[in-house]
Symmetry: C2
Subunit: 152 residues, 2 copies
């Protein structure tokens, strides 16, 4: 505990807090996955469209996209094939690195993302909007942001 050393939160508080976040996430995800907007596309698949929509330049390498998802690289590779077969995204070889692919939404993919996103936003707001005050939501965002930074 000398000099510039940071203090570390206690084991119990760290674990209890993570456990609470995790269980909250499970509870919310169970509700979300039952929502009608995810009948045509699974949440995992939608998440790919969502990430492509908002990634810089609207293009992303498979590996970079994978960073934001829980599935393995081979699973994402095959999911991309399926989404491509459905006409929702395109795979292009990266001219600067012929190993890599640049993934992007097709017009159809963008339209579907927007349609599902609209419904999803509405339903999420209905589900969670009253859970806490706006200030508390902001604080939760700030804290989860710190958590994310810590593991990046």
């Amino acid at each position: 505990m000398t000099g510039t050393s940071k203090t570390t939160a206690s084991l119990k508080v760290t674990l209890d807090s993570w456990e609470s976040l995790f269980r909250a996430q499970v509870a919310v995800m169970r509700k979300i996955s039952a929502m009608e907007e995810f009948n045509s596309l699974s949440m995992r698949e939608y998440d790919v469209l969502f990430n492509l929509r908002f990634c810089p330049g609207g293009r992303s390498r498979l590996v970079d996209l994978n960073q934001n998802l829980l599935i393995s690289q081979p699973s994402l590779s095959r999911m991309v094939t399926r989404l491509e077969d459905k006409g929702l995204i395109t795979r292009e070889s990266d001219p600067d690195d012929h190993r890599a692919l640049l993934l992007s939404l097709t017009e159809k993919g963008l339209a579907l993302q927007q349609e599902i996103g609209r419904q999803h936003a509405k339903h999420l707001h209905e589900l969670l909007g009253d859970a806490m005050s706006e200030e508390e939501f902001r604080e939760m965002q700030r804290l989860t942001g710190k958590l994310r930074e810590a593991v990046a």
Copy 2:
């Protein structure tokens, strides 16, 4: 906006906050799933042992257990079979309701949960302990608790 109506957080703040929580969870889970303690048992399987360990009476119906997990009931049913085959949990018919099962840990299952849990706690603390102050962790726990209540 009359009388006792609660104010609802704005759409944007609600969604951004949820998005932030979700991404933080993904980032942490990616790290966790790579940890050595989950070589013998997947996180999902461990979570079943964990839930059984801490549920009231150390026994739980399959349906009740399922509430705390993201997998479907049929998947849990088969996972239980596998965990039973490994000698980690037992399935007993509920004497009060012959449709239901009472699941509980075997001695071996308890021992394994404790062993994995010990390592997991250590690693999680190393991973997250410095992410924020103890007060902030407590606040995160409080807020995620509210979130969970809201969807219960």
